[in-house]
């Protein structure tokens, strides 16, 4: 079943710059935040939405949550139209934001939860039981009866998740939930999300982040958004293939002069070649190759012809963050 089905979803913000522009009939400045975005997210997956600040991630999820009306296109959540059936959509969605202001700081964690439960849930008795279960699951028991203003950032974030889970939504949307967390808290948050939340909810999780490695750690599939458009969609593993514009090989060679090695750069498809002495008579060569013109065999033949012994040859694994950056960079270079 499809959890989210967006077709040509578009959001244009119009900025009128004051009364003067109204009187002079100056047309408002327009920003296309989401540009004809089409995306399907299957039910039961953890789906990562990646993109730099201002890419359109939040605008997209706000339209999905019916907090923002699209300018064009359409989107459905479990078959319900986000504009015409917004009440049904809101029954299916839970939202976790990184905005720690969105609680009543002078109330305790439990008082906050009970208040939000009253507007989200079916009955208070059921809700109290659910609050206890969620509190247990998120290890909040020790703190839940303390005032919210005494919580650490990590605790506040757990409270945001707890609130998102109150109605046991079929779709949980998390908008940059790790923002402001230290590396340790971030790591434990991601483990919690993968091991406990996904297991308990058994629904779909949409995880928005601008940190690619986070998405790679927890998501089944990802989509990368830039300038309001999807520039890539697939599994984190497939990203490597998509970004394979160049690859680097590290070759350890023996019995060749360093000067000879520099001639490798003359081979077609070799973008760069550097070498360094590993031990006496042994060099490590870093060969950067154009992925569209496989030149590895030519380079190895060249080394063999020059009578050198190849001790080791390995492909360098790419960093996921770097790959995503690469994709974004490519999308910017491409004319729209």
């Amino acid at each position: 079943m499809t959890a989210i089905d967006a077709v040509n979803l578009t959001k244009v913000f119009r900025h009128q710059s004051g009364w003067k522009s109204v009187l002079t009939r100056t047309p408002p400045r327009q920003t296309v935040a989401v540009d004809r975005l089409s995306l399907q997210i299957e039910s039961g997956t953890i789906f990562g939405i990646l993109g730099p600040n201002g890419a359109g991630k939040t605008t997209f999820i706000k339209m999905i949550c019916s907090l923002l009306l699209p300018t064009g296109g359409e989107a459905r959540v479990f078959g319900h139209d986000v504009v015409r059936e917004s009440t049904l959509v809101r029954q299916e969605v839970g939202l976790v934001t990184s905005d720690e202001r969105s609680f009543y700081w002078r109330l305790t964690g439990r008082q906050n939860m009970e208040f939000f439960a009253s507007v989200y849930g079916p009955s208070m008795r059921q809700m109290r039981r659910r609050i206890d279960e969620i509190v247990e699951m998120l290890d909040l028991k020790e703190y839940i009866d303390r005032r919210f203003n005494e919580y650490s950032t990590g605790m506040k974030q757990k409270m945001a998740i707890a609130r998102g889970l109150l109605s046991m939504p079929r779709l949980l949307v998390m908008d940059e939930p790790t923002k402001g967390l230290d590396p340790l808290a971030r790591h434990s948050f991601l483990s919690l999300m993968r091991d406990r939340i996904a297991g308990t909810l058994k629904g779909t999780i949409v995880f928005c982040t601008n940190i690619p490695s986070e998405a790679a750690e927890v998501c089944d599939r990802i989509a990368i958004i830039n300038h309001g458009r999807i520039i890539y969609s697939g599994t984190p593993e497939e990203t490597e293939i998509a970004t394979d514009r160049h690859c680097t090989y590290r070759i350890v060679v023996r019995g060749i002069e360093r000067a000879e090695l520099s001639r490798l750069e003359a081979i077609q498809g070799v973008e760069a070649c550097t070498s360094q002495l590993v031990r006496h008579g042994e060099y490590e060569v870093a060969l950067r190759l154009d992925a569209s013109r496989p030149a590895l065999s030519d380079a190895l033949k060249f080394l063999g012809r020059n009578g050198c012994e190849i001790v080791k040859c390995a492909r360098e694994t790419s960093d996921f963050d770097e790959m995503v950056r690469d994709l974004m960079h490519t999308s910017q270079e491409r004319p729209s």
């Binding site: 959001k11 913000f13 119009r14 605008t59 706000k62 949550c65 019916s66 907090l67 923002l68 009306l69 009440t87 809101r90 029954q91 969605v93 939202l95 934001t97 905005d99 202001r101 969105s102 609680f103 009543y104 002078r106 109330l107 008082q111 009970e114 208040f115 939000f116 009253s118 507007v119 989200y120 009955s123 208070m124 609130r163």
Partner: protein
């Protein structure tokens, strides 16, 4: 039945939340209660200045300016609070970031808005009762003939009228992020024409005519008559009818404007702005 139970649960949750938040600021809470005594004393001595002065406009109130002023000011609290509570509730939600979370709930926004005004109305009723209590015990206010049923009917209808105006103003707050100037304007005009501190009859005749188009005029006239002269519901039918008419007209307009304002902020993307 289910819908009613659900609404009751939501209304209770909002009232409990606002009560807990109010008492978390203990000094402010106590000063609002204790302040009633001082204001009652001020009204008493202002009334004392005019004791024995023959003022034709005060004749319907047996020349008792203290009783006139106390009921006028204390009851106008309902207007002030009704106007402010919706605007404040929205502004606080915008500032605290809870507006998005509440808009995401499957409950109508108007239900949430009305629920958020229950505690302010209850607290105002408590203050109004304290005004009457201190006025009676400490300053000799005579409400021995009061008709409580009529007073309650007038109070409920007045709350409906004032709240629907408050809801209209809240749509301004949602769109423009500030509704306070509109509140000041409405509060000022209503207090001037409505007969809060002086009987409306002393105004020029065209303003007297204008004052009959303001719900506060009918609320205050009816409340003073119910409390001071013991008028019953049937004797107050003209005022009660006028208040009911105002409520019938204002409530749908208020709800429509809020619905429009929510749609507007969802279109321009300013739900989380403040």
């Amino acid at each position: 039945m289910n819908a009613l139970r659900r609404w009751t649960r939501i209304a209770w949750a909002f009232t409990k939340r606002d009560f807990l938040l109010t008492i978390s600021y203990k000094a402010l809470f106590l000063s609002q209660i204790v302040g009633v005594v001082f204001w009652a004393a001020i009204f008493y001595y202002v009334g004392d200045v005019f004791k024995g002065v023959s003022a034709p406009a005060l004749r319907p109130y047996k020349g008792n300016y203290f009783a006139f002023l106390l009921i006028g000011i204390a009851f106008t609290d309902y207007l002030t609070v009704s106007l402010a509570s919706f605007t404040n509730s929205i502004q606080e939600s915008q500032l605290m970031g809870t507006l998005e979370i509440l808009l995401l709930s499957p409950v109508r926004f108007s239900t949430l808005l009305i629920s958020s005004s229950l505690w302010p109305s209850l607290f105002t009723s408590l203050r109004f009762l304290l005004y009457l209590l201190f006025g009676t015990l400490l300053f000799g206010l005579d409400i021995g003939n009061a008709n409580p049923l009529a007073a309650i009917v007038v109070m409920l209808l007045s709350i409906l009228c004032f709240s629907s105006i408050g809801i209209m103003v809240s749509s301004v707050t949602l769109v423009f992020k500030r509704g306070v100037p509109v509140n000041y304007l409405i509060g000022g005009v209503f207090s001037f024409l409505g007969g809060v501190a002086f009987p409306s009859e002393v105004l020029p005749s065209w303003l007297v005519k204008l004052s009959s188009y303001i719900p506060l005029t009918h609320s205050l006239t009816a409340m003073r008559r119910a409390l001071l002269d013991g008028y019953g519901v049937t004797q107050l039918l003209p005022e009660i009818g006028a208040l009911a008419l105002f409520a019938i007209v204002f409530i749908p307009i208020g709800l429509y404007l809020v619905h429009w304002a929510v749609r507007r902020i969802k279109t321009v993307g300013t739900v989380s702005h403040y």
